[in-house]
């Protein structure tokens, strides 16, 4: 990774950086508390940047930390250009950004543009002064019968997408919670205000944004208010602005839709993409869980087959877990998908999907499975997003309620508060995990750093192996099929600018039992697979099916080499 200019000219040499990057989602309030107030902060995050650089991650994604009443985990922003006091100051953030850049680590942050908190001064001004400068910043109506075709997303808590405001005497529109009024994107002044806020952070050198809930920006009568063309036009406008003023910065869309609809958020195919650089590929995660549970490669193979090509300058983002578990309904709007039926029938899958869990407890702390899942995440098409703590196999606390259970403090040491904070334990914003299996006394960074065979060291080796091969990020994907339905195999191929071909073959045993597989590798005839982590050459590929055996939940990553390149003595 090339050094990054803190002033933000980072990307000139590698505008494509995000296509090969490993992302790491870090919750600032749960990572490291520098001032013993019980809540993590940017000063604390700075202390841990060396750790993150050692781990090998390329870009941090920091979920919301803007000033907020915190009624929706910070996704209810009450000021776009200031920071929650407990997380630090804007100056702290600038230092954090500069220090990250010094270590070759980029930073993107969440930006919620669909709505604000009802505490935002814009909303307060809008409701009290309809004729004033902010009077038209939100979607107001005398009736609650407009846009009735738009579904209510939080059906459990919200009876309607409209809520009456007694101050202004009108209804206001909200696609999410009633305390999160939607901004009115038909008002050009809203565009200007949003762009101004984005610029505030980009001017500091920020490397990009994850744009939250992008499908819902506009509303139109007779539509469901999702994926409207006006929404795409606005995203194109943002993209042009970023490209003109801040080249190399990235926009990552959270559009929780089926891949064939999500691709629209990359923009024009021929132009290489003119909306968001990246979009999350939501169905991959449940499909991986499904495939291992079924011991069948088809759930993954199918979704890969159904994933349309994306513009040349774009990339998917994929993940196993994140801070905000997804409901399956959101990925299965399409009738053609059978996932919902399969999940709903399976009590264990259903339970796991409803509750927000971390990776390790979901996999019953089975090291082989955790490694297999991570290997899949790091080798399937897309840029992987790791979730903080999963690299050491952290657990969760289901008694904290479904959101906070996976947001407990990072476990650094076996000492008090897991080394997260010097505050008295009762002051911690969330308690550390204390159970006998996942508690910080047994699961922590310090202990795993000492142990070369720990999950942490293993994860690091995998990340470092991945970064040596652009095929993982940039390569094509070809499902290799194979004789065994429990074994998922694929080739990732990339031809570099120097004409050099990088071919990686990944073979994954989704079954708990040892399995043989015969692979059709004829197209690579004559090449020698070299296992990527150990460097051991395997027998050369011939005309016949290539036989491999795998241990339960085992996997291989091979790079394909020409026989003369392996350094074997030639007789």
């Amino acid at each position: 990774m090339s050094p990054v200019d803190p002033a933000g000219a980072a990307a000139d040499d590698t505008p494509d950086w995000f296509r090969t990057a490993v992302f790491y989602e870090v919750l600032v309030r749960s990572f490291r508390d520098s001032n013993a107030d019980g809540t993590g902060d940017f000063r604390g995050l700075i202390e841990k940047l060396d750790y993150l650089a050692w781990l090998g991650v390329d870009c941090l994604w920091v979920p919301p930390f803007f000033t907020s009443p915190l009624r929706d985990g910070g996704y209810d922003v009450s000021d776009y250009i200031s920071i929650l006091p407990e997380a630090g100051t804007v100056d702290d953030f600038q230092v954090f950004l500069d220090e990250a850049h010094k270590r070759g680590i980029r930073v993107i942050i969440d930006f919620v543009m669909n709505h604000t908190s009802d505490q935002h001064p814009w909303f307060q001004a809008s409701r009290s002064d309809p004729e004033g400068p902010f009077g038209d910043f939100y979607v107001w109506s005398d009736t609650d019968e407009l846009y009735e075709e738009a579904r209510i997303i939080f059906v459990d808590t919200e009876p309607s997408n409209w809520t009456f405001d007694p101050v202004r005497g009108q209804y206001y529109w909200h696609r999410f919670f009633h305390h999160q009024p939607d901004l009115n994107f038909d008002n050009p002044k809203v565009h200007d205000a949003i762009i101004e806020a984005l610029s505030f952070w980009l001017d500091m050198g920020l490397d990009g944004f994850r744009l939250d809930a992008v499908p819902y920006l506009y509303e139109r009568p007779g539509t469901n208010g999702e994926n409207l063309k006006e929404t795409h036009e606005f995203l194109k406008k943002i993209r042009r602005y970023v490209d003109d003023h801040y080249p190399g910065r990235v926009l990552l869309a959270e559009a929780n839709q089926w891949p064939s609809d999500v691709v629209d958020y990359f923009g024009d195919f021929e132009a290489g993409g003119d909306e968001c650089h990246m979009c999350f590929h939501f169905p991959v995660m449940p499909r991986i869980f499904m495939a291992v549970r079924r011991e069948s490669r088809f759930p993954i193979s199918e979704i890969m087959e159904q994933t349309p090509p994306i513009p040349s300058g774009c990339q998917w983002g994929i993940f196993l877990r994140n801070h905000d578990e997804l409901t399956l309904e959101m990925v299965t709007d399409e009738d053609r998908d059978y996932m919902w039926g399969e999940y709903a029938k399976d009590p264990r899958m259903k339970a796991n999907i409803g509750i927000r869990r971390r990776l390790a407890p979901l996999l019953e702390n089975d090291t082989n499975q955790i490694e297999l899942f991570t290997a899949l995440l790091l080798s399937l098409p897309g840029s992987p997003v790791l979730y903080y703590g999963d690299e050491i196999g952290m657990g969760d606390n289901i008694w904290l309620g479904d959101r906070d259970g996976v947001r407990t403090p990072m476990q650094w040491t076996p000492d008090r508060n897991a080394g997260f904070s010097a505050a008295t334990p009762g002051k911690l914003h969330l308690p550390v995990i204390q159970d006998p299996v996942y508690g910080y006394q047994s699961v922590n960074v310090e202990a795993q750093l000492e142990n070369a065979s720990s999950l942490l060291h293993w994860t690091r080796r995998m990340i470092h192996a991945r970064r040596k091969h652009h095929a993982f990020g940039l390569g094509t994907f070809a499902d290799l099929g194979g004789s065994n339905p429990s074994v998922l195999s694929y080739a990732r191929e990339h031809v570099g600018p120097d004409g050099e071909r990088d071919t990686i073959v990944c073979v994954n045993n989704l079954s708990r039992f040892p399995q043989p597989v015969e692979l059709d590798l004829r197209r690579f005839e004559g090449q020698v697979p070299v296992e990527l982590l150990g460097g051991v050459p395997f027998p050369a590929i011939g005309e016949l099916p290539y036989l491999l055996t795998l241990s339960g939940h085992g996997f291989y990553w091979f790079r394909l080499t020409n026989p003369d390149a392996t350094g074997r003595p030639v007789l």
Partner: protein, 458 residues
């Protein structure tokens, strides 16, 4: 020096796909049907049709196809496929089985592409709009039993029929119809090779879409059972490897294929009484081979008797030999393969319209076999575990049969008539299995026998 006839005889009796093994055979004739591609470029590729006559008491004769790659010099790389060498029009040729030879198979591909021509009475027919990959290399599949299949790259696969019966090959004609109907449940047909003899068509080879990433339905079912057996205390619907979703999708696929076949081929009805009579006659013959069947014969006759009362049965073109091993799971759903019909039957009979319930019964019996096959492959002495497995096996089979049937019929239960049909065709299939197992794999005889013992028992 062996003559061409002797060479062919020696090669044939040693070939895996030769069906007359163990019988006294003599090659009594052969002829060249023609040549594939230009005779000017090496190798010449000549298609030989070999007549073998059986010298045992049963007698009779069969035709076998051997495509030959002819070289003027020995080709060491093809030693394993060496047929013989002989004098041909004054020059010596070294003959190899052409399916093993990339150079020879490339001539097939070029001929399908229209870039080369077939000489003699040999016709290459292309169908559909698929564009073949002209440079695809051929690879022979290993492990095939009765035919030889060659993949062209990742694009197409050529199935070379070995035993040739004059007349329409239902594998080709059924695939043709389903391809034209745009069925998503078969590999698309791209073309075939044919010749004629005594005014009858000889279907020699079939070119199809290569389902590169597919897995055999049997393998997936068996993986599911293994998962269940590993969880001693969980039920079939609770384990991760549950197959019921796939079983249901198989039912949907078969239903669609049957509909398309019904629309495209002649259909009609057959008197139920006659069908039942045939089944009863088979039962009587089977009891002679498998005496254990005698205990159940009355019950089975009642089952067939109920069938006899159904009046006229709808009949149509069917698969004829359907089981899990004839299904392939691909990323685009399930495909059914091998529409040759039941190989034991004469060709003419295989082309007759038959009841679609024959296919349904084949699948249902296959669901019964899968769990027992798994148990067989990991023997167990502990009687408790054996009993537990038996229980799980029944549970697994029942669950998947039900899922398959519900999806096939589109209802949650069978009508009275459907119930009678299923019972009769399943019984007939199980009787057939008893005879087959008694003759070939006596260890497996308890599987169909146990199924028969359960039939009709409340």
């Amino acid at each position: 020096m062996a003559t061409q006839l002797e060479s062919l005889q020696n090669y044939l009796v040693g070939a895996r796909w030769f069906g007359g093994k163990g019988r006294g055979v003599e090659v009594t004739g052969f002829r060249r049907l023609g040549e594939v591609g230009s005779p000017e470029t090496e190798p010449r590729v000549a298609v030989a049709l070999v007549e073998v006559t059986y010298t045992d008491a049963e007698g009779g004769s069969d035709l076998y196809q051997v495509p030959l790659a002819l070289y003027s010099e020995p080709e060491g790389r093809l030693d394993h496929a060496f047929v013989g060498w002989w004098d041909e029009d004054g020059t010596w040729v070294h003959a190899y089985d052409a399916v093993h030879d990339r150079a020879a198979m490339a001539k097939y591909l070029q001929t399908f592409l229209g870039k080369a021509t077939a000489e003699g009475d040999l016709h290459f027919v292309s169908v559909g709009g698929h564009e073949l990959e002209p440079d695809a290399q051929s690879t022979l599949f290993s492990g095939e039993q009765s035919n030889s299949s060659v993949a062209f790259g990742e694009d197409a696969v050529l199935k070379v029929f070995r035993k040739i019966t004059p007349g329409e090959n239902p594998d080709i004609t059924t695939h043709k119809v389903l391809t034209e109907a745009e069925s998503t449940h078969v590999a698309q047909l791209y073309g075939w090779v044919e010749s004629t003899t005594d005014d009858e068509v000889l279907h020699l080879a079939m070119l199809q879409q290569f389902l590169r990433t597919a897995s055999d339905g049997w393998d997936i079912a068996v993986a599911s059972v293994r998962d269940l057996f590993a969880e001693a205390d969980l039920h079939a619907e609770e384990v991760g490897g549950d197959f019921a979703g796939e079983a249901a999708r198989l039912g949907e696929a078969l239903c669609e294929v049957h509909e398309q076949l019904r629309e495209s081929f002649p259909s009609g009805t057959a008197p139920a009484a006659e069908v039942a009579e045939t089944m009863t006659a088979r039962l009587t013959a089977a009891v002679d081979v498998v005496p254990e069947l005698a205990d159940h014969a009355d019950r089975l006759r009642r089952t067939f008797g109920q069938l006899a009362e159904l009046g006229e049965l709808p009949v149509q073109r069917v698969h004829g030999d359907l089981h899990l091993g004839q299904t392939l799971r691909t990323v685009a759903g399930w495909k059914l393969v091998d529409f040759e019909g039941e190989p034991a039957k004469p060709l003419a009979e295989r082309l007759h319209p038959d009841s679609p319930w024959r296919d349904v019964a084949g699948m249902l019996r296959s669901f019964d076999y899968a769990p027992y096959a798994v148990a067989e492959s990991s023997p167990e002495d502990d009687p408790d575990v054996v009993e537990q497995r038996r229980h799980r096996a029944e549970e697994w089979a029942a669950r998947n049969k039900q899922a398959f049937l519900h999806a096939y019929t589109g209802t949650d239960g069978l009508s009275h008539d459907q119930g009678v049909l299923v019972a009769a065709y399943v019984a007939e299939k199980a009787i057939y299995e008893c005879v087959y197992e008694a003759r070939n794999r006596p260890n497996w005889l308890p599987i169909p026998l146990a199924a028969i013992a359960r039939m009709g028992v409340p």
